[in-house]
Amino acid sequence: MTEDIIVSGRMNHLIDPHLEVWEWQIPAYLFLGGLAAGILFFAGLMVLTGREDKYPAAVRKAPLLVPVILVLGLFFLFLDLKHKLFFWRLYTTIKLGAPMSWGAWVLLLVTPLSFIWAALNIRELFPRWDWKYDILKKLEAFFRKYRTYLAWAMVLLSVVLGIYTGILFSAFNGRPLWNTSILGPLFLVSGMSGGAAAIVLMSRSREERHYFARIDLLLIFIELVLIVHMFMGFLSSTQTQIDAAQLFLGGKYTAPFWIFVVILGLVTPAILELMEIKHKRIPWVAAPVLVLFGGIMLRMIIAFAGQVSHWNV
């Protein structure tokens, strides 16, 4: 029997009795960032593979959401900061060892990029849009000329945006539950899956919905494989990680994780999409909504459970 007490009575705010420094703002940003990454990835990919006209929602409609999503996400990140007035310090240096620094700079690039792409496609929303000023018209012509470069930038930067948050979590020594290199790819695939789901929801073309539902099915399958590997990794690692994994294997977060993330967020939409492929009649909104729900729950549960997990000193 072991009894471990801090007898001098430490009760540092947000640190004791267990770590709680990150609240809803962080999972909310993680979800929005991943979703934005997924949408931009497919938009760029469809342009580069010449399927722009086949999949208009992916290339022109869904990206209209991304500037809003990113600005909202950045706002949530800002809300989380405890020393807000100094946020600009993020942009006075690049720290290659700090994924948070990579993220700050990538967002600085991706956000204007998403605004530019949305501006190029503004006529999806306002068919008679007129830029009015010459300079703006010239800018539109300029960006339209270099669309391929913009598409390349979207594909590459969106992958960084989608994966860095997972890498960020996995690089924190102090949280054994996050200390797995699977987390980066898991968040990336989850973000792409969310992007595909958003495209399905926004599309008016049956063919496009089918195509992205199939992509989503593949991504869900990959996510399930990654989750299995994540647990295999924990259970074959040090005692600390075996203990951390218990949070999902009988501990506090078992039910939320397996029910909300795996069953409702991954397995059910996969079954629904499989049934759709077999031409059974399913309300096509069901699967993408569940996927998005699963995405936000994944990030919330991992963010909170990770803060509970700790080393035994």
């Binding site: 801090i6 705010h13 310090r89 060892g97 102090g174 700790h310």
Partner: protein, 177 residues
């Protein structure tokens, strides 16, 4: 110059003088602690074993907090002391989340704070507050790079351990058995 601290667990009685001295010396806000006393009891009566430790930031060689800071607010200073530059800290809590020892906290003013090995006292040639008040004189502080220093000689003579060595952090606070 590599500063380190050694604490003789055979002599520590857990009186918490080090905790109070630190809070007084560094104007630690009420309710916060930069160092603390941890008591670990193992076994079943009457076969009991107790260890008392005075813990704080370990000013690690390979500190995850310095590595994860996006603004460079967490940095190394002379002697390997890990410090936080207040006006570069954005309060993102990345360092707090990355510390396996839970050594950091967010100061009510918004920036991140922790033990500084009392570097303001070191500059004047004094010892850290906690070391200087210990009634059993079980705490030692000095330069590991100096083989003649008290701490180097103690670490040579006595069996010692660090906390969570497997975390790869390279802590500089040693506990003498």
């Amino acid at each position: 110059m590599r500063y380190a601290m050694a604490i003789d667990t055979k002599k520590c009685v857990g009186c918490s003088d080090c905790v109070v001295a630190c809070q007084t010396e560094n104007n630690v806000p009420l309710g916060y602690a930069r160092d603390w006393i941890r008591e670990i009891n193992q076994g079943v009566y009457p076969h009991l074993h107790m260890e008392i430790r005075s813990e704080r930031c370990n000013h690690c060689d390979n500190s995850p907090c310095v590595r994860s800071c996006p603004t460079g607010a967490s940095h190394y200073e002379e002697g390997g002391i890990v410090k936080v530059t207040k006006n570069k800290c954005i309060g993102c809590s990345a360092c707090i989340v990355s510390c396996p020892y839970d050594a950091r906290y967010i100061h009510p003013d918004g920036y991140v704070d922790k033990c500084t090995f009392c570097d303001h006292r070191l500059k004047k040639g004094e010892l850290p507050a906690c070391v200087s008040v210990c009634p059993t004189k079980c705490m030692y502080f000095g330069d590991l790079d100096n083989p003649e220093s008290e701490i180097s000689q103690l670490l040579n003579k006595r069996l010692h351990k660090v906390l969570i060595p497997e975390a790869g952090t390279g802590p500089r606070v040693y506990f003498l058995h």
